[in-house]
């Protein structure tokens, strides 16, 4: 334990850099995944078959072993940032997509009918009424997606992606040595720390971006 503490003292600038890179790649991936999933969700939530089909595809993405998926992109996208983000986006789609569809479907039809009855176009009803009402549910999907991606992002180091995974992989390579344990432990604890912080931050964002009329 003493050794680990000394390691932290000596390497903290490096750890901060890795943590920031990790947040960066996760945030980028969640943002892209959310944009895609919300757009697709809006497109399919009124339908039965297409909604089921897109959910099935997002489900399949999530079942592909992450090592395999990262490696599969090397021939096409090379190493580093691009394959990492691409794989993480694929993993992040399902929670947001599912919650977008569920959130939009769970709105009281009478509310949408009165919006249309007052003369809102379908686009106005979507932007002003349906999305704000579904937003808390969509936000929950984004939070789940963030936590999911946060862990998987570590494996991005396998294709030379950025973040705390670098420490974990180098640590595992030197397992048995004191430094190896320090590296693996710092990477793992860093991710746990990020999970707590990001969930709190997103919880706050969700609260701030949800209408007071919808707060419990």
């Amino acid at each position: 334990m003493h050794h680990f503490y000394a390691y932290l003292q000596y390497r903290w600038p490096h750890l901060v850099a890795l943590t920031l890179a990790h947040v960066g790649v996760v945030a980028t991936s969640v943002a892209i995944a959310s944009a895609i999933a919300i757009t697709v969700g809006i497109g399919v939530y009124r339908t039965q078959r297409p909604a089921e089909a897109t959910l099935a595809v997002a489900n399949i993405f999530l079942t592909i072993p992450s090592f395999a998926l990262f490696a599969l992109f090397i021939p096409v996208l090379g190493l580093g940032y691009p394959p990492t983000v691409t794989a993480l986006v694929m993993y992040g789609l399902l929670p947001v997509l599912r919650n977008t569809i569920v959130g939009l479907r769970s709105i009281d039809p009478a509310i949408v009918e009165s919006a249309r009855g007052m003369g809102m176009t379908p686009a106005q009803a979507l932007w002003r009424i349906e999305l704000p009402l579904a937003w808390p549910v969509i936000m929950t999907g984004i939070r789940v997606s963030t936590l999911l991606i946060l862990g998987i992002a570590a494996i991005g180091a396998y294709v030379n992606g950025p973040g705390l995974g670098k420490n974990i992989f180098s640590g595992l390579a030197r397992l048995g040595t004191a430094t190896g344990l320090d590296l693996a432990l710092s990477g793992t604890l860093g991710i746990v720390f990020l999970a707590v912080v990001l969930d709190l931050v997103l919880g706050l964002v969700a609260w701030l971006t949800t209408s007071r009329g919808l707060h419990e």
Binding site: D108, A110, I111, E113, S114, A115, R116, G117, M118, G119, M120, T121, Q124, I129, P132, L133, T210, S211, R212, G213, L214
Partner: protein, 367 residues
């Protein structure tokens, strides 16, 4: 009631039909109907008769399969439905307030779409909340979750009236509300309608509500076929057929009493005297005070033996009071509580016989 014969209808439905996909029967079958400015027309009929479908074709939430819709003489069957709807108020049973918007923002939706300026919208919101009896300063910035059922429906009506549309469509607006609040909202709505004079299409399956709210009632049977389209009085006294008779139920005469006010009946008069006069023990003498407020019957020292009804009460309410009143008589008072006359069972029965006779006579003249 205005005489519809000469005016141009506010709403005209012409040979309107609707067939839903995968259904053999027409939901609405060749309906032609005129609705005039300032009247409340109630569509009443059993569930599935097409009354709601018919109403939703007026603002084109349901597109007609064939036929034409005219609003103030203009054919609106093919105009942009979104723009059309901004000029037709819409109230539904489930109310459908937007929970994420403040009450003021809910009411402001249509005025904002129409591009009103902020100050005008603010004034209009306050005016409508005041009209609905909801304290504007307290509720303006609160959210729908803070409202009771009755208040929600009031805000729903305020929202529909926001841009002052000439036409209001109401689909069972008081259907989901408890009976006491419902009666209150109905009375209040009739009072507001007295001020705003909108053309209203009101859908209900409750014949009593139809009789109370309607200037005219369209009794609809399956396929939105008109069984009878007439005033409540005519429908109650001269139901067109067994279908209408069955819908009215067994107590048409009692229902008719709800249509007339005590003040419209020929009241009995009794001798009155100021309290303390020397005639004090005479039979049938009513003692009143300086303002004309009835105090007690001269031959009965108990002031509780006096039953009063307002001249504004319906004959049905008067009859209800008479059933419990000593000697079967009640004192009619005006809005200030002053003596106007006396109503008894003979008064009510006489009014029923007289109005039936005059309706029959009126009908004989028009035929």
């Amino acid at each position: 009631m205005s005489s519809p014969a000469q005016a141009r209808p506010m709403i005209r439905l012409e040979a309107l039909s609707k067939r839903f996909a995968h259904q053999r029967r027409l939901a609405v079958d060749n309906l032609t109907l005129d609705i005039y400015a300032g009247e409340i027309v109630v569509f009443v009929g059993p569930s599935g008769c097409g009354k709601t479908t018919t109403m939703k074709m007026i603002n084109r939430l349901i597109e007609p399969t064939s036929g034409e819709i005219y609003l103030e003489g203009d054919n609106v069957t093919h105009v942009n439905p979104n723009r059309l709807r901004r000029h037709i108020g819409y109230v539904i049973q489930q109310i459908g307030l937007f929970p994420h918007m403040s009450i003021a923002d809910n009411i402001a939706v249509v005025p904002r779409m129409l591009g009103w300026d902020k100050a005008r919208i603010g004034r209009r919101v306050d005016e409508l909340l005041h009209m609905m009896g909801i304290p504007a300063h307290e509720y303006r910035h609160r959210y729908p979750k803070a409202l009771s059922g009755g208040q929600s429906q009031r805000v729903g009506v305020a929202r529909a009236l926001a841009a002052d549309p000439p036409v209001l469509l109401m689909d069972e607006p008081f259907g989901a509300i408890d009976p006491i609040t419902r009666k209150h909202l109905q009375d209040e709505f009739l009072r507001i309608q007295g001020e705003v004079r909108k053309t209203i299409v009101f859908v209900t399956h409750d014949i009593d509500e139809a009789i109370k709210m309607g200037d005219r009632i369209a009794v609809l049977r399956e396929g939105s076929h008109i069984a009878q389209y007439d005033t409540p009085e005519q429908i109650l006294t001269h139901p067109a057929d067994d279908f209408v008779r069955a819908l009215i139920g067994g107590s048409a005469t009692l229902k008719r009493l709800a249509l007339s006010r005590v003040g419209e009946a020929v009241l009995q008069s009794v001798p009155t005297a100021r309290e303390g006069a020397d005639t004090e023990h005479a039979d049938g003498l009513l003692l009143i005070d300086a303002q004309g407020h009835p105090q007690r019957w001269a031959d009965d020292t108990d002031a509780r033996a006096i039953v009063t009804v307002s001249a504004d009460a319906t004959l049905q309410e008067a009859l209800d009071a008479l059933l419990l009143a000593p000697r079967g008589r009640a004192v009619v008072v005006d809005a200030h509580g002053a003596y106007q006359g006396v109503v008894d069972f003979d008064t009510v029965a006489g009014y029923v016989r007289h109005s039936a006779a005059s309706l029959a006579q009126g009908e004989a003249q028009t035929q």
